[in-house]
Each structure stands twice: as structure tokens, then as C-alpha cells.
Amino acid sequence: MMETEIFRALADPTRRAVYERLAAAEMNVSELRAGFAISQPAISQHLAALRAAGLVTERRQGRFTYYRANPAALAPVVDWVERYRNFWPKRVESLKQVLKDMEP
């Protein structure tokens, strides 16, 4: 199974934790770093990967850059689920009919 950019970006547990913190509140790098035992350059690297996947957006204000999670990025995942949640139960109903109609 080919992983998408989103899945790759979030495969790393630290990056996932960064994303989760940014889903709760907008933060700059030093605010974000406060919860992690890793260097600022490492945090910046994770942010760059999240931004490349469209999962995080940035906003500059004065000398600070603020980051936040982008809720639209995971939307295709949510849509995908909605679509197939309706699809499979209907197909199973058809399968039951096909089984009834089959020659034994």
C-alpha cells in the first residue's frame, strides 16, 4: 500500500505530537518546543514536513511565525470514510441476493 504524503508526514510519533498540539492551539516555535525534549532545529524540521504535506499553515506576525493545524488537509480522509461507510453494507445486501440466485 502506497502511503500518501499525509500518512508519511504523520508516521513519525514526534511529528504527530506536534500536529496534535497545533490542532489544539496556534503557537510559535518556542511555545511549541516547550512541551518537547528536542532541539529547536528539530522542531523546525518537523514543522517543514508538516507544512509540505499541507497539514500545518504558518502566519507571520512581527518577528514571530505562528503555526496551526490546517483542518482542511485531513478532509479527504474523512470524505473517503463517509463514502465507503455507505457503500459496503449495500453491496453485502446485493451479495445475499446473488448467493440466493446462484445455481447450487
Binding site: 500500500m1 500518512f7 474523512v78 448467493l99
Partner: protein, 148 residues
């Protein structure tokens, strides 16, 4: 009937059918029968065979590119499932690939069939929950934190 679709990121349909596994297996692996209940296809029961399901109104969108990943007669069929529909792409424009597993098990009544359509690595499931909460929050407070 005990059909049950649970979990939002992994879709599971679990049901008991009134027919033996051998007959259910035919319905899963003979192209004409498979087309009758699922979608038109050029399936062949061979591991590694690449084929397509062609949606016809039962599912919106374009063809679904598949590969037979596992084939254990009367027990398990596993397919990769990748829609070519541009609507099913992530923010980076890549396809949202997934895997569909059909597990068969003989039971007194006939066959227990469990279909699992999995599109997300398990580690991401809590995140999609976080995403929904975030979306709901933003919908309620569209201007939140945007003011300088």
C-alpha cells in the same frame, strides 16, 4: 442479521450468510458473480493480478485500480484498492490508497463474512478524531485566533 459498521477510519462489515464458504468464495472470485454484487471488473483469482473495478452508479467516481494481495481459497481475499478519482486525493494531490480484506469462516448457518476496508494506518485513527473536533470548533468560531 448482525451487520455492523464501526469505526470511522477503518470500515468493517461483519455478517453471517446463509450459504457455505465454497459458494461465497465463488461469488467473490468469479468475475461475473463479483460484478453482479460489487462492481464490473476484470478480476482474476491470481496473487499479483492487477485489475480494475469500473464504477457504474453503485459507487461514484472513476475506475478503482486493484491488485490481488492475498488469496486463500474459501478463507481470505485481500485486494489493494486505489481510486483514480481526483476527489479522493490528499492535500498533496496523491491518491488515497486502501486495502480491502474479505475473511470467510464456516459457521452453523453458512458463512461468517467479515469485510474490512482499511485506508488509514492504525496510528492515525486518533488524529482523524482530533481533526473532527478541530473542524467542529472552527465551524463554531470561524474568527478564532485570526485577529492580529
Amino acid at each position: 442479521m448482525s451487520e455492523d459498521v464501526r469505526d470511522r477510519e477503518e470500515i468493517v462489515v461483519d455478517c453471517e450468510l446463509d450459504h457455505p464458504p465454497a459458494q461465497v468464495w465463488r461469488a467473490l472470485t468469479e468475475p461475473a458473480l463479483l460484478a453482479a454484487w460489487l462492481l464490473p471488473n476484470d478480476f482474476r483469482p491470481e496473487v499479483g493480478h492487477r485489475f480494475a473495478f469500473r464504477p457504474d452508479g453503485r459507487l461514484e467516481g472513476g475506475p478503482i485500480a486493484c491488485e490481488v494481495l492475498d488469496l486463500e481459497p474459501e478463507r481470505r481475499l485481500r485486494l489493494s484498492w486505489a481510486s483514480a478519482d481526483p476527489a479522493e486525493r490528499d492535500a498533496a494531490g496523491r491518491r488515497l490508497d486502501s486495502v480491502v480484506t474479505f475473511d470467510l469462516e464456516p459457521v452453523a448457518r453458512g458463512t461468517r463474512l467479515r469485510i474490512v476496508h482499511c485506508g488509514l494506518p492504525a496510528s492515525l485513527r486518533p488524529l482523524a478524531g482530533a481533526h473532527r473536533r478541530l473542524t467542529a470548533m472552527l465551524a463554531l468560531q470561524p474568527a478564532v485566533r485570526l485577529a492580529a
